[in-house]
Symmetry: C2
Subunit: 401 residues, 2 copies
């Protein structure tokens, strides 16, 4: 597998663009379109919040036939908690995009992110959609990545290439964070494209599997949003042997590349968590079960006290063990070893004499790596989060006004 | 019911004291004893974290006979994650207290709060226990309340008196917060005394019931601690008709007073949450079930985004509804009305034209009152939390060092 330049337009058959439509208050891009020149196999995973934006339900319904040809997205307004008019506006976004691109509106997916409960400024949205559609190009991926940002500080893109048979197959993706991030599917969007030939069923299965160990393993603040989704479109232009089983050799190769793409973006989102100064990576090893490993890893990345301790460069392993303890997972705390990078801080659930200076140095690294060895099985899981800082409070104390 | 002066020594038969034993770095009281001159009926509720301090397990075992005569507590060191020596130190605290007060050590309850994973400085603890035992008095309740504080800014005490028949019956209590507060039973301690004549079974049932709607409904940061407990001792000196059923008239009167005591202290703990500038009270009304009402209320008080919005005086009802949505409770978001004090912000799950200035004014009040009307049933629940501030981050970025 090779990392290549670009993002959603790196695979064959995709154009994209992002434009300024004054949906956000600031002078920034806020409407994006990703377009597949051919009808593409499509799949998606969505927020588990029961308070959902209309776009989530619209997209689920548009994905029922297994195809899509365009994604239209905006930042600045989530179009959530906006009732029937919000639903109508979502459909209008799909309809207009479909008209402009000569695509059945049912094959257009819609994504929105931003403030909740405010009516969509449809006139400006429509101007933005027209401009983005008119500007679609193979160079437009970076603009699309910018246009979906909210409080993100950096745009998030990646593309990789693998060989399937003699055919180079590419996967490209963009994503946005950065507050309201908590598994499952928080205020985050990710749009992935590939030119792989792949069955729709396989695409859905593999997207769910990758999401489960990437986007679903990050936490910025435990708040799960109303709008989150990961969408994937597969144009089929790579001409490879069709991937029709996740367990085939080609299926495994594709899954590995997709895992890499999703994990890279997930880490970028966590690292760019609101106010974050450092990525925190929590690896739980030798657990009894996947559930225990995942639950403990996620509980630690989500602990405000642990996050604040990392910000303060305080090697407070007691908070780490306490967060494992209240996670809901069953395990024997008396067997747990805890490491901070190369420094062992706890052995068998108890404090372990360690060099505070070395521990402090590990806490200044980015990422900060916390390893929890449960010494009771063979399962492992990794979760990512970020430190809790003054800046997080500042950003969220005055987001809407 | 009448609110009276004092706390744990207000009921007949109780003495208390709190002293400085240099367990905390700062020049503050850190060892406390509460003593009942007569063997008292006793009950307790404890942390649900599976990583528990030895004192939690020791107290459970000491409560098996339904009696206790003393509580010894220290702040500055939680004696959690300290293995066998931690266990031994807990028993040593009970033993020494028992010797000094001529009480069977099995009738002494132990409580510790503070940093996790550090060995107890037993020499200083023992000096503290000796000094506290020597100083026991009816005036010592306030000192005991101070001695259990960690990052609390104010000590927390209350006492009430009710009449049962012709007999005045008193309940007094102290408590401490203030970080790592999340239901169920977070880093909080509360010690309650009463002179009521009451059966042990009733005492346990009523304590659990009161805790469930008070201490278990507060959240500062969702972190659940290793050491939390609420203990109650009943000296029986009031001479009232024995309370032997929660459903009797006297049972109900006592429950109501106990609820008041626990709720008052719970609110004091939330208000004094680390870095908090305001108490947040979330009332969920007209829910389908108690579970839905409680789950939604707690989810909102625990939402970092909602807490930061209150700090920033930002009437961001979308975050409130989103927090309800990811709580895990099943409900129809399209029926929900949300009020901020007297200002309706959302109707039927959608934004509602409201006066931003009035909303901002409601957000400057203490407490900030959020009411969520689910319009689908008759159940209600109230939860309490606090805003998320720069000061919370500062305190927790450098607690241990």
């Amino acid at each position: 597998m090779q990392i290549i330049d670009g993002s959603v337009t790196a695979p064959q058959g995709f154009l994209a663009q992002g434009v300024e439509a004054v949906i956000k208050k600031t002078d920034k891009k806020d409407v994006a379109i990703i377009y597949s020149t051919h009808p593409a196999k499509a799949a998606g995973v969505f927020t588990t919040n029961i308070v959902r934006a209309a776009c989530v339900d619209v997209d689920r319904s548009h994905l029922e036939n297994g195809y899509a040809q365009a994604i239209v997205a905006n930042s600045g307004n989530a179009n959530a908690c906006t009732g029937q008019s919000g639903w109508d506006d979502t459909l209008a976004m799909a309809r207009l995009t479909g008209q402009l691109l000569d695509v059945d509106p049912h094959n257009v997916l819609v994504a929105s992110t931003g403030v909740i409960g405010v009516a969509m400024p449809m006139e400006r949205i429509e101007q933005g959609i027209r401009a983005a559609a008119a500007g679609l190009s193979r160079q437009g991926g970076a603009n699309a990545a910018e246009a979906i940002m909210t409080t993100d500080l950096v745009s998030k893109q990646i593309a990789v290439e693998i060989e399937i048979g003699d055919h180079p197959v590419r996967i490209g993706a963009i994503a946005k964070g950065s507050g309201m991030i908590h598994p499952n599917m928080a205020t985050m969007l990710s749009f992935i494209t590939t030119d792989a030939v792949i069955s729709t069923q396989c695409l859905q299965q593999m997207l769910a599997a990758s999401t489960d160990q990437s986007f679903n393993m990050i936490s910025v603040d435990r708040d799960t949003s109303t709008n989150d989704m990961v969408l994937i479109l597969a144009s089929g232009l790579a001409g490879n042997e069709c991937i029709d089983s996740p367990n085939s050799a080609v299926g495994k190769a594709f899954q590995k590349a997709l895992d890499y793409v999703c994990t890279s973006l997930a880490k970028k989102i966590a690292r760019d968590g609101e106010g974050a100064t450092r990525l925190i990576e929590v690896e739980v090893i030798n657990a009894d079960s996947q559930t225990v490993a995942r639950t403990v890893a996620r509980s630690i990345t989500a602990s405000n006290l642990t996050k604040a301790a990392v910000f303060g460069e305080d090697a407070n392993w007691g908070r780490i063990l306490a967060a494992a303890g209240y996670s809901g997972a069953r395990f024997d705390p008396g067997q747990v070893d805890i490491y901070l990078g190369g420094v062992q801080m706890a052995a068998d659930g108890m404090g372990f004499e360690f060099d505070e200076e070395r521990a402090c140095w590990e806490l200044q690294k980015d990422p900060v790596v916390i390893r929890v060895d449960m010494k009771s099985g063979q399962e492992r899981a990794t979760a990512w989060g970020c430190d809790l800082t003054y800046e997080y409070v500042r950003i969220n104390a005055a987001y809407r006004t």
